[in-house]
């Protein structure tokens, strides 16, 4: 679903409201921050997995609604479960305003050509952005992500086992770290492409 709109609650998170949310997440501010990020990421993934674009904005809207509930004094046992409940209702709002249309083959080829673009200006801009973003990573993270994806097409598992052994970590830790780094790269590249497109 692309380009869907839903009326947002006209309420903006104030510093006090955000502090209240963090306090409810954990008494330690750093842990609370991590938990906040985790909930936000879970919500983003939830929207993504329902094929709803603008997952970041939607996740923020759900968190706003959750915080409002806290301010209103709602009895909330588990913030994550409550956030999921709000998100599901919110998804219904989004879907009500949108009719899902099965895509024709032609449309799929168009979409796939976007997913696997030929070498063009957009591609090179993408590469330029990716290169810049790789440079912003810490040396170890950069080496890890490049080696992680540098694989023998037939022997991915062995490659990652060897890499994990070399780096002194389990394959699960390696995969998790690689995934986190890839998400950072994705965010950075997306911002870079956004800047490039607004500059042109």
């Amino acid at each position: 679903l692309e380009g869907q709109t839903v009326s947002k609650v006209s309420w903006e998170m104030s510093q006090e409201a955000f502090d209240l949310l963090l306090d409810r997440l954990d008494s330690d501010r750093e842990t609370a921050g991590s938990k906040y990020e985790a909930i936000r990421l879970m919500l983003m993934k939830l929207f993504e997995n329902r094929n709803i674009t603008g997952s970041t904005d939607h996740a923020d809207e759900v968190i706003n609604r959750l915080t409002r509930k806290l301010i209103e004094g709602a009895e909330i046992q588990s913030l994550t479960a409550y956030a999921l409940g709000i998100a599901r209702l919110y998804i219904k709002e989004v879907l009500r305003g949108h009719k899902h249309v099965a895509l024709e083959d032609e449309e799929w080829s168009k979409r796939l050509s976007v997913a696997q673009p030929s070498v063009d200006e957009g591609e090179s801009q993408h590469e330029r952005c990716l290169t810049q973003c790789l440079d912003t990573l810490k040396h170890d993270d950069r080496e890890l992500i490049l080696q992680y994806y540098e694989e023998d097409k037939e022997a991915r598992i062995d490659h990652r086992k060897v890499l994990a052994d070399k780096l002194g970590m389990t394959t699960i830790t390696l995969r998790t770290r690689a995934c986190r780094i890839r998400m950072r790269l994705e965010e950075c590249t997306s911002q870079c492409l956004g800047r490039a497109s607004s500059a042109s």
């Binding site: 094929n51 979409r111 080696q147 540098e150 995969r175 998400m183």
Partner: protein, 329 residues
């Protein structure tokens, strides 16, 4: 296989189905509830997604999985961008390739393995040979380090020279733009001088007097100026046919040179004359300048006098609001 591994594997399949959009609504909801409460499962989902993308790019998905991936996963731009990013990381694009640190078995290692000796004497000989190679290696490393140290010093010197060169280039650039400005000013002056000479060299017609405005208060011949009090604009009435007007601005401090600038109400500079010198006029010093009428129009302006010091710095001296009226008859 341990229970944990079995569970992981089962969850792995469930997560793959979730990402490929093949779970029923109830199964999907149940899985979402689980990963919202279990960060480990959530992490596993992120990793499963990553691997699904990598497998898709590498052509490792089954035809069914590939079809589902394309139909159900690649629905949004965000996901398509993600697939593209992973694809670039997986491939060998030159910018990324440059940053790769490849760990490969070298040809040298292969070469050595060919000579792995079996006989004791050969082993001894090989041992000596190895020792010699090691000593040679140590010497080479030492030499390398010494060389690197020299290279580092050389690089530091080069960096310092580069910085100096850059600074000089910047200074040259500044000088260049100043020279350009001076050249423009010179061209303007020449053009004005020629026009003035032409005007003065016409014997058949009486040249119009050049209106003269003394900002100390006295108004010269050919123009009508009224100093109407401090802070109020000086009225400058320019007779018809005049091509220039002369201004005389008093100076109280000595500078290397002076600059006069005329600005409109929006603070836009409509005329400027740098490199002016002061001249004695009775008991006082003034800065004189000819101002082409083409630079002005009816309206209010501000004449600004700046002092230019030795070091190139400028200092504000005085400003005079003026009201210009160009006579047409």
């Amino acid at each position: 296989m341990t229970l944990t591994k079995q569970t992981d594997s089962k969850d792995g399949q469930l997560l793959t189905s979730y990402l490929l959009g093949t779970l029923s609504d109830a199964e999907r909801d149940a899985l979402e509830e689980r990963y919202f409460e279990d960060t480990t499962l959530f992490e596993q989902m992120l990793v499963t997604e990553d691997e699904l993308i990598a497998d898709y790019n590498a052509g490792r998905l089954s035809p069914d999985q590939k079809r589902l991936f394309e139909q159900n996963y690649l629905q949004t731009q965000e996901k398509r961008d993600r697939v593209r990013l992973v694809s670039t990381l997986q491939g060998d694009p030159s910018p990324v390739e440059k940053r790769r640190t490849e760990v490969h078995e070298t040809l040298w290692q292969k070469f050595l393995s060919l000579f792995a000796p079996q006989h004791p004497t050969a082993r001894l000989a090989f041992g000596f040979a190895s020792l010699a190679i090691i000593l040679g290696g140590v010497w080479t490393v030492y030499q390398n380090q010494a060389m690197r140290s020299r290279i580092r010093s050389q690089e530091e010197i080069e960096a310092s020279l580069r910085a100096e060169k850059k600074e000089l280039e910047q200074r040259l650039g500044q000088t260049g733009s100043r020279n350009e400005q001076l050249a423009t000013d010179l061209r303007t002056s020449e053009s004005e001088r020629r026009e003035l000479e032409q005007q003065l060299s016409q014997p058949s017609s009486k040249p119009p007097a050049i209106p003269y405005f003394d900002f100390s208060g006295s108004i010269g011949p050919g123009g009508v100026g009224t100093a109407s009090g401090q802070g109020k604009p000086l009225s400058m009435v320019i007779p018809a046919g005049a091509k220039f007007l002369q201004v005389a601005v008093p100076v109280s401090r000595t500078f290397k040179s002076y600059r006069l600038s005329l600005r409109d109400r929006n603070e836009n500079e409509v005329w400027r004359r740098p490199e002016l010198t002061s001249q004695r006029a009775g008991q006082r010093f003034v800065v004189n300048a000819l101002l082409p009428i083409t630079a002005i129009r009816d309206g209010e302006f501000t004449l600004v006098l700046l002092g230019e010091a030795e070091a190139g710095a400028t200092e504000f001296i005085a400003e005079y609001p003026v009201k210009v009226e160009l006579k047409t008859k």
